[in-house]
């Protein structure tokens, strides 16, 4: 071994012991560029004993995540290109006016939710009512129970259209989260239209009825 080699190894030892891991600069030439290269000397695909299980590596330098607005790369052993999670959700309108309810028609109003996400497990959107469709003095329109809002019967519920709708009949809103749309995979511009429907009987009390519906969409990665 030459004196120079011995010096280099001594330098390496001192560098590691004194300053921790190297911060590696990018490697490049006229033909390539590696922003953060990795230098490994150990590790195996899976290490395990009765007490642990690990996908490990040893002596790795310059590994870690590099992020931008649109992606991140996870450099190093088993490094992966990670696409940032994306999720957009929109609600077409914050109001839904059913107008004057009658015993001879079904009054409706609609709004649209649009969802896009790259989540591996897709998304779930729920509706939650703050109470029945009701008046200030406590009267309310009965929730639908038979799957369809019928003329002349006091019933109130929602119907859905769209590929990712959660059900095909008319259903009542509830004070707990009601799933109205979902996908088990990533989606782009998944559109679901919610139509609120109401009919009344002659016994339905006069008055101004209202309720608030909260819309919550969650992506599942």
């Amino acid at each position: 071994m030459s004196i120079i080699k011995l010096f280099l190894y001594v330098f390496l030892i001192l560098s590691q012991l004194s300053f921790g891991p190297f911060v590696l600069a990018e490697m490049n030439s006229g033909n390539f560029k590696i922003k953060f290269d990795s230098l490994n000397v150990g590790g195996r695909d899976y290490s395990s004993s009765s007490n642990f299980f690990v996908e490990d590596t040893a002596g790795e330098q310059g590994s870690g995540q590099n992020r931008s607005n649109n992606f991140s790369s996870d450099s190093g052993y088993r490094g992966t290109l990670v696409v940032d999670p994306l999720f957009s959700f929109s609600l077409s309108t914050p109001s839904c006016a059913l107008g004057t309810l009658t015993t001879t028609t079904i009054q409706t109003c609609s709004y649209v939710i649009t969802t896009s996400t790259n989540a591996f497990n897709g998304y779930v959107t729920t509706l939650t009512e703050d109470g029945n469709l009701r008046t200030n003095n406590g009267a309310f329109v009965n929730d639908i129970v038979d799957g369809v809002v019928t003329v002349g019967v006091e019933e109130y519920g929602i119907g859905l259209t769209g590929t990712h709708r959660a059900f095909t009949d008319d259903r009542a809103l509830t004070s707990t989260a009601l799933i109205i749309a979902s996908s088990a995979v990533a989606v782009s511009n998944s559109v679901v239209t919610i139509t609120n429907k109401a009919s009344i009987s002659a016994l339905t009390e006069a008055g101004l009825y209202s309720q608030i519906i909260s819309v919550t969409s969650t992506s599942v990665y």
Binding site: M1, Y9, I13, Q16, L17, G20, P21, L39, V41, G42, F53, V54, E55, D56, T57, A58, G59, Q61, S63, G76, R78, P85, L86, F87, F89, L91, T93, P94, S95, C96, A97, L98, G99, T100, L101, C109, T117, A119, F120, L133, N137, N196, A202, L203, T204, E205, A206, G207, L208, Y209, S210, Q211, I213, S214, T216, S217, T218, S219, V220, Y221
Partner: protein, 327 residues
């Protein structure tokens, strides 16, 4: 060369400081509200990978996106639980005891900037299980949380990161919208109908040996919240044309043969009384309902009998019926 071979792994071996992270799965954050700039609860779940889990002394960091404000959120506003399985939808969760710092079996919960850090004392969470964090008023262990996380301005792709010394990492995106609620309105117009079956009631020739009657129906429909009330009022007693004589009003609850008595009786579910009572020159309620009704029918029967002392003559009076819906 032998020295080289021995030293190289030694040199690089002492610099081992990373076990590469695995990705968390089923990462989600269910928010109570997603409207811009308002407080919201969060329920964040993820599944630790095989070989993962949380070991004694390790931390789990939840870093909220820039723009979200944790404000006064602290460990009393946080619940931390481990699930019974790797299915976050069906797992049952065991809540951990949280304190400001980790100590033996008490987990530490702290907030700094955008990050909530959960620190294990001596406790562990097994690999391949669902872990749940609740922040806000949905945190109820040891008292209900008070402080919530305030949402950022409206926008998409807000990335919430999960990392820490427990080694595994995950992220999810949140969407904040201008409005996350729909106000539904409807109107039901007031209705009211009142029908009398006849405008006259002929008692015929009164006799001390029987009770003469005549009747008519009143039918009411209304969607008034407080229902309706129908009253009857007379313009005076049942009397002769010159006003010199009249038939005595019933006072004992029943028109009886041989007594000079005149009154009304009612039938129908909304009748106001079940005995026989006199008609007054002030409003007497004969029918009512406290709610909406359709076709509520009450029959009003006028009843009269006389004694041998009742003066001969033609008797009459006019009664007025008024029905009012109470909305």
């Amino acid at each position: 060369m032998l020295i080289t071979a021995l030293i190289t792994p030694l040199v690089l071996g002492v610099s081992i400081n990373n076990v590469q992270a695995s990705l968390l799965t089923s990462v989600s954050d269910v928010m109570s509200r997603t409207k811009a700039l308002i407080p919201s609860n969060h329920e964040i779940k993820f599944v630790t990978p095989p070989g993962g889990g949380v070991k004694a002394g390790e931390t789990v960091n939840y870093t909220f996106p820039v723009g979200f404000t944790l404000g006064s959120v602290d460990f009393p506003d946080i619940d931390f639980a481990s699930g019974s399985s790797n299915n976050c939808l069906t797992a049952t969760f065991t809540e951990k005891t949280l304190g400001p710092v980790a100590f033996t079996s008490t987990w530490g919960g702290s907030v700094s900037g955008q990050t909530i850090t959960i620190t294990s004392g001596t406790s562990v969470i097994a690999a391949d299980t669902c872990i749940r964090l609740r922040v806000g008023t949905n945190a109820v262990i040891g008292g209900t949380g008070v402080n919530q996380v305030t949402n950022a301005i409206a926008g998409n792709d807000y990335v919430l990161l999960v990392a820490g010394t427990f080694s595994d990492v995950g992220s999810m995106a949140l969407s904040i919208v201008a409005d996350d609620q729909v106000a539904v309105t409807a109107n039901v117009l007031p209705t009211f109908s009142f029908i009398m079956s006849g405008l006259s009631c002929e008692l015929g020739v009164l006799s001390p040996t029987d009770i003469k009657t005549c009747n008519y129906d009143i039918t009411t429909s209304t969607n008034a919240h407080n229902g309706y009330t129908t009253t009857i009022v007379e313009d005076g007693n049942l009397r002769t044309t010159d006003g010199g004589s009249d038939i005595n009003d019933v006072v004992d609850g029943g028109v009886s043969v041989t007594s000079e008595e005149y009154g009304i009786g009612l039938t129908g579910s909304d009748r106001a009384f079940s005995d026989e009572q006199a008609i007054l020159n002030t409003d007497k309620i004969i029918a009512s309902n406290s709610g909406t009704v359709v076709g509520s029918l009450v029959n009003v029967t006028h009843k009269a009998t006389i004694s041998v002392f009742t003066s001969a003559g033609s008797y009459s009076h006019t009664v007025t019926l008024i029905s009012v819906g109470i909305f």
